[in-house]
Amino acid sequence: MNLENDRPVVLCVDDDPMVLRSLHRLFREEPVEVLSTLKPELALRWMGEHDVDVLLTDQRMPGMSGTSLVEETRRRSPRTSCVLLTAYPQDVTANTNALQETDGLVSKPWDGPMLKSTLREILRQRDFEPEESSGE
């Protein structure tokens, strides 16, 4: 049972419940804990109180864009790796600043195995980083 504990937490944010549903399905056999929300504001609130290892967010959402969610996450929860999911990659690539902030950019609709390997790669890189990095 202890094996089930302390898995990396992946928080998925999308305003479309069907997308969240398929992300849950996609990652259900991965060694992670998947959480989801329809609202970027709730994601920020959550990250203020809980550790999140990877944020997986849609770009176009009402209320807050994925890139501004990523920027805000950088400020509030620097340890969280951010991946943008977008059907319009040109939106994001035009914004070089935002691109620097993200750890990954995945186009929608995604290729399942590819998204999984992106996630694994990000988690593997995190494992090499010192846990409490005081200096970069």
């Binding site: 049972m1 089930e4 504990n5 898995r7 928080l11 419940p17 969240l20 549903r21 849950h24 990652f27 259900r28 056999e29 991965e30 060694p31 992670v32 804990e33 998947v34 959480l35 989801s36 929300t37 329809l38 609202k39 504001e41 709730l42 994601a43 609130r45 959550w46």
Partner: protein
């Protein structure tokens, strides 16, 4: 012509069945009622006029008077208030083709008798009669029995992988904290199969709750979410179900808008619908909407218990509809706010007697809109109310209203079926 269904013996029949008097100036209606009720374990007396019904009530030990509203020499509402004078142990029920207009033309004194629409649905009426008989005669003011304690021990929290239910639970926990709590986290999955991350999440939630000293267990079921929630609530004998509202568009993965409504329709377990975006908060003001019926008053017991736990003020609010739809048109209604106030003041006295600070307010207009507006303006932290599934003006007032509030209120709602 007087149709006496049964030559009644003095007072109660030897079989000890409840005695029902049916009054309608239309013999066909009386006969239909008799056909319906004579198959049930009741002794039925048919009266053609309100006077005759009153005579029966004086002469026999009558449990229930079922009356038409519109009769030549006396309205159903008038008859029942006379019945109450003569025999306080007799309860009443009004059958009317115009349930809405009874409120307008002839508002009954609270507590108002249940109204049933004519023509009736046999099953609904049979069930309604059983309930009315079970509930017994209305009580007023000082005769009121002390509220049953809202012993919240087992709380069922359906979770679905979204953070909304967890945030909502976090925000309402302080409200329940005073109780000795046991929380069941229930995840309903659409299919059998490996859902490793689900177990990881449930285990984390369970540990977090335990860290706060709350006894929590996690459970996974498969199938239709609402059905499983209902089933589990029954098996675990849950005292409360906590859901998160996802606002209007809001739907989490497996939840659809109707989960709260279906739970209310199909179970008696109270529902606490929390708001995930509110965060942990203090509970200072609770709003209790009342419509003069005992059904609505049932929420006072819940509000009392919750308010005592956290020192909140209870505000009772009576909403008088200005115009109600009748048939094809609208009947203008002269507001009778001054008539509602004594009733609400009596409730306030009762709450203060229970050591909870209380206020009363009357407003007029569309009930849902007014309650929502008032909750916003008074910064209510919780709306506590009942909902009725079946008939009567409670359905007109509170059936739709509760659903409207569940969808639109900006504060958490505690709602139970009346």
């Amino acid at each position: 012509m007087i149709t006496t269904a049964k030559d009644s013996r003095r007072t109660r029949t030897s079989r000890g069945h409840p005695t029902i008097v049916c009054v309608d100036d239309e013999p066909l209606v009386s006969r239909a009622l008799y056909r319906l009720l004579s198959r049930e374990p009741y002794d039925v007396l048919l009266a053609e006029t309100p006077r005759q019904a009153l005579r029966y009530v004086k002469d026999y030990d009558v449990d229930l008077v079922i009356t038409d509203q519109r009769m030549p020499d006396m309205s159903g509402v008038e008859l029942l208030s006379e019945v109450r004078q003569v025999s306080p142990s007799t309860t009443g029920l009004i059958l009317t083709a115009y349930p809405e207009s009874v409120l307008v033309d002839d508002p009954p004194d609270p507590p108002a008798p249940p109204l049933f629409a004519k023509p009736w649905d046999d099953e609904t009426l049979r069930e309604g009669i059983r309930e009315v008989l079970k509930a017994g005669p209305p009580t007023k003011g000082e005769e009121r029995t002390p509220p049953p304690r809202l012993a919240v021990r087992t709380v069922l929290v359906p979770v679905d992988g979204s953070i909304e239910p967890e945030l909502a639970l976090g925000s309402v926990l302080p409200l329940l904290k005073s109780e000795s709590l046991r929380i069941i986290l229930l995840q309903v999955l659409p299919d059998l199969g490996l859902h490793r991350d689900v177990y990881a999440r449930l285990e984390r939630m369970r540990r977090n709750l335990s860290a706060e000293g709350i006894d929590a267990i996690a459970d996974v079921r498969w199938g239709d979410p609402t059905e499983q929630i209902l089933l589990h609530a029954r098996h675990a004998d849950a005292d409360l179900i906590v859901l998160s509202s996802h606002e209007r568009k809001g739907v989490a993965r497996f939840f659809h808008r109707s989960v709260a409504e279906r739970i209310l329709d199909e179970s008696d377990v109270p529902l606490l619908v929390g708001k995930p975006d509110l965060g942990v908060r203090t509970w200072k003001r609770m709003l209790v909407p009342l419509d003069g019926t005992r059904d609505a008053e049932a929420s006072l017991a819940d509000a009392l218990r919750l308010a005592k736990g956290c020192g909140a003020t209870i505000e009772v609010i009576g909403v008088t509809p200005i115009a109600v739809p009748v048939g094809y048109g609208y009947v203008p209604y002269s507001p009778r706010i001054q008539d509602r106030m004594p009733y609400l003041s009596e409730i306030v006295k009762y709450l203060e007697f229970e050591d909870v600070s209380a206020e009363a307010r009357c407003v007029e207009g569309d009930p849902a809109e007014e309650i929502l507006r008032h909750a916003r303006e008074s910064r209510a932290d919780l709306i506590c109310m009942t909902t009725k599934v079946r008939s009567g003006w409670t359905r007109f007032l509170f059936g739709g209203v509760a659903r409207e509030l569940l969808r639109r209120a900006s504060c958490p709602i505690f709602v139970r079926r009346a």
